[in-house]
């Protein structure tokens, strides 16, 4: 029971991070119907910017953890968002209306480009860092096993819940959210009714990238080590989360993230840690076979 509770706490933390990345996939898919393959790399870049931000904070002598975290959070969100905007502008917008594999191939190109760009600029070695928040407390003890919650895990879950709440409000109640939902339903009609479609799509990428940057920062703080390759696996897992929850659905992405976090942690905890990634991929395949529209998604109807 204690072991299970501990795993559950770890799973929720990991799931929160995956959920944040998954939102980026699901939003972009919802609005232009493409898988933003480079989203995992954006997450990786956000993580690197956070690392450098923390180091700059340390160099400037900002010793208070909450201020440093807040500063780095804003910094990483802003500068990673520029990456999201640029990628959309350079690699995807010119391809709208091209044949259907074109954006996907372009996205793979972006992904390779970003990965190697970071490797060139920052070196291939794993970078340690982000040990800003340490310590925690024992929740309860049972069977001679302490169930521990670290402050960091609480921060991760709180930041995620706040951002997701704010984000849901943005989509459901602001004019930007309305425009976005309009574009999702019918881009041409939205354009006719005066929605600036290009701007809305750009903003979608910006928001997705900003959330991925938050995930990158939390990932850095949680694992304490990053390298240029983390975007690949995290990207696939977050995509799996988005598909599991029903791609195109925001609550689905969050739910999917949680479930993927649980599958990964429990698999590693109870079976074997070598095959935890295999388990996640297997889930992806199984979901696609039995419920391609995901848990909360609507089935897709193709019109001619």
């Amino acid at each position: 029971m204690a072991y299970f509770s501990q795993q559950l706490i770890n799973a929720v933390t990991l799931g929160a991070i995956y959920g944040l990345i998954a939102i980026g996939y699901t939003m972009v898919y919802g609005i232009i119907g493409m898988i933003n393959f480079a989203h995992g790399e954006i997450f990786m870049i956000g993580s690197f910017i956070s690392l450098i931000g923390f180091l700059i904070c340390a160099a400037l002598g900002i010793s208070s953890a909450p201020i440093a975290i807040l500063l780095v959070l804003l910094l990483a969100m802003a500068f990673t968002a520029i990456y999201g905007w640029t990628i959309e502008r350079v690699a995807y917008r010119p391809l709208r209306g091209s044949f259907k594999l074109a954006p996907l191939i372009s996205a793979i190109g972006v992904s390779i480009l970003l990965q190697n760009y970071v490797q060139l600029a920052q070196g291939a070695r794993p970078k340690p860092g982000g040990d800003i928040v340490v310590g925690g407390f024992n929740l309860f003890s049972a069977d001679g096993f302490d169930v521990r919650v670290t402050w960091l895990q609480i921060i991760i879950v709180v930041v995620t819940v706040v951002l997701m709440g704010g984000f849901s409000w943005l989509i459901s109640s602001t004019s930007l959210g309305r425009q976005q939902r309009a574009c999702e339903q019918d881009m041409k009609m939205a354009a006719l009714l005066g929605v600036n479609v290009d701007r809305t799509i750009s903003l979608t990428f910006v928001m997705g990238a900003a959330l991925a940057a938050v995930a990158g920062m939390l990932f850095l703080m949680y694992y304490g080590i990053i390298d240029f390759y983390i975007g690949f696996l995290a990207g696939i897992k977050a995509f799996t989360a988005a598909v599991l929850g029903g791609i195109g659905s925001l609550p689905g992405a969050m739910l999917g993230g949680l479930l993927i976090g649980m599958i990964e942690v429990f698999w590693a905890g109870y079976f074997s840690s070598e095959y935890k990634d295999v388990a996640v991929f297997a889930i992806l395949v199984l979901v696609l076979i039995f419920r391609p529209s995901g848990l909360l998604g609507r089935p897709e109807i193709e019109k001619v």
């Binding site: 910017i49 180091l55 690699a91 190109g109 600029a121 340690p128 696939i236 070598e274 992806l284």
Partner: protein
């Protein structure tokens, strides 16, 4: 659209600002490990400033070229080229290349309208039409003659032959993937998984059971095709982009299993001492194992290390040509036509009574089979394999070859493989820069020439052959 200088300056300044924002953290602050724990900064802000300035000038040059001011653009490009090539002391050699590259891009952009107009005119002229017809017909033949005589050319030393074998392996993989991506329009990002299945099939069957290359070759193809069927069956009913991710996941699964299932694959240590292919029972070695004879004994030729390489070269050439011939023939069969029809419009195909799942499955399995062949050849050539050889980046390179060559174009794959594999092998030192260029090229090709280098594709079938034969389409 007429643009004045201030608006152009504004545009260039914006571009420079965005690139500065992109680079400031990742490029400007390079983190270096400090011995044990902790990181320190290695400031590269000067490098970044120079790069941003180059981007600013480069953007102005491109804008000038875009409004038809060819000469100012060319001059600007030339100046950049000279600055880059000048013996200044810039913080890094990369910046020299960066500036020269920017100059070259501007010059190319400046010359582009003129060049494409002249070329287009030449092509449309009577002579041009005739010439391009001749070229199209004989180019393939000429390539084939070069390929067959290549091992006996004076320049064919060991290094060149090694490279030729490598390029041919990628050409074969490219042609195999072309069936899946180019003909059937299924984006397969895990193609290397089938390559790995073929390689491990041969490695295990030959080292454990002593089977020969020629026995295992068809078996490896069948194994890979079976894997293709097993994977394809559940996922091929889905939309194209789901397929891409699932195949990528599958590629990772295969690699992880090979890495962790130590009893089967001996894990990260890999499998060594894989026997090479034999020539009617003769081995290519100085001394033959018991019960065999060497190639030198069999033919009476003096022993030379190059014989093995030449033999491997002809095997992979034959395998690649079989792949090509198979593709060319199957495109004319109903199933091949169904693939291409499916690529264009799935709904229409359904209405015409084509079963999309089965049709896709055949393409997927056939593509996998050729990857299996290539994989067992790879194992026989390397004599050592490990999961390291089958990472996602391999899949991406093969896909890049197909995309660059032009989806569905056979000769394009050859050109792209020579370009993407041959050139970088000569410039081995470029390392990671090569991969950056790779990714960038994929984006640019999709933006400017989405149909690849060879954008003209001969249709497999024409409705009215006679009407179309003479004129241009």
């Amino acid at each position: 659209m007429k643009r004045d200088l201030p608006s152009m300056l504004k545009d260039a300044a914006l571009t420079a600002l965005v690139s500065a924002a992109l680079g400031i953290f990742i490029v400007g602050f390079r983190t270096n490990s400090l011995g044990g724990k902790g990181l320190q900064f290695d400031f590269q802000l000067v490098d970044l400033a120079i790069a941003v300035a180059t981007i600013f000038v480069g953007r102005i040059g491109l804008l000038l070229a875009a409004i038809g001011q060819r000469w100012p653009a060319l001059v600007l490009g030339a100046i950049l080229g000279v600055i880059g090539a000048a013996p200044l002391t810039l913080p890094s050699t990369f910046l020299h290349w960066f500036i020269v590259l920017a100059g070259a891009v501007i010059i190319l952009r400046g010359l582009w309208p003129w060049a494409s107009q002249t070329l287009g005119q030449a092509q449309r002229s009577r002579r041009g039409v005739h010439m391009s017809g001749v070229a199209a017909r004989w180019f393939g033949v000429a390539l084939l003659i070069v390929a067959f005589t290549m091992p006996f050319m004076p320049f064919a030393d060991q290094k060149t032959m090694d490279l030729a074998v490598l390029i041919l392996t990628y050409i074969m993989l490219g042609w195999g993937l072309n069936i899946v991506v180019g003909l059937a329009g299924l984006l397969d990002l895990g193609y290397v998984a089938f390559y790995a299945v073929g390689a491990y099939s041969y490695a295990l069957l030959s080292t454990q059971y002593g089977l020969s290359f020629w026995v295992v070759l068809p078996l490896a193809g069948m194994m890979a095709a079976t894997f293709g069927l097993v994977l394809g069956f559940p996922v091929l009913r889905l939309r194209g982009d789901y397929l891409a991710i699932v195949t990528m996941g599958f590629g990772e699964i295969i690699r992880l299993v090979l890495l962790n299932w130590v009893d089967l694959s001996s894990g990260p240590a890999g499998i060594g001492n894989i026997p090479g292919p034999t020539f009617f029972g003769a081995v290519f070695a100085e001394t033959a194992p018991a019960g065999h004879q060497t190639f030198a004994q069999m033919t009476g030729l003096p022993f030379s290390g190059n014989q093995r390489l030449i033999f491997l070269y002809y095997i992979i050439l034959a395998l690649a040509l079989v792949t090509n011939a198979f593709t060319q023939r199957i495109r004319r069969l109903p199933v091949g036509r169904a693939w291409e029809a499916l690529r264009e419009d799935e709904t229409a195909c359904k209405a015409l009574g084509i079963n999309p799942t089965n049709t896709k499955l055949t393409a997927f399995a056939v593509g996998a089979m050729f990857a299996g062949f290539a994989g067992s050849f790879f194992a026989a050539k390397q004599r050592f394999i490990s999961p390291e050889s089958f990472t996602f980046i391999e899949s991406a390179i093969i896909l890049a070859i197909v995309v660059l060559g032009g989806l569905g174009s056979q000769i394009g794959v050859v050109l792209a493989a020579v370009l993407l594999i041959g050139l970088p092998e000569w410039f081995r030192d470029l390392g990671t820069y090569r991969m950056v260029a790779f990714g960038g090229a994929m984006v640019l090709i999709m933006a400017f020439r989405p149909r690849g280098l060879i954008s003209h594709r001969e249709p497999s079938i024409r409705l009215h052959p006679k009407l179309q034969a003479g004129g241009s389409t």
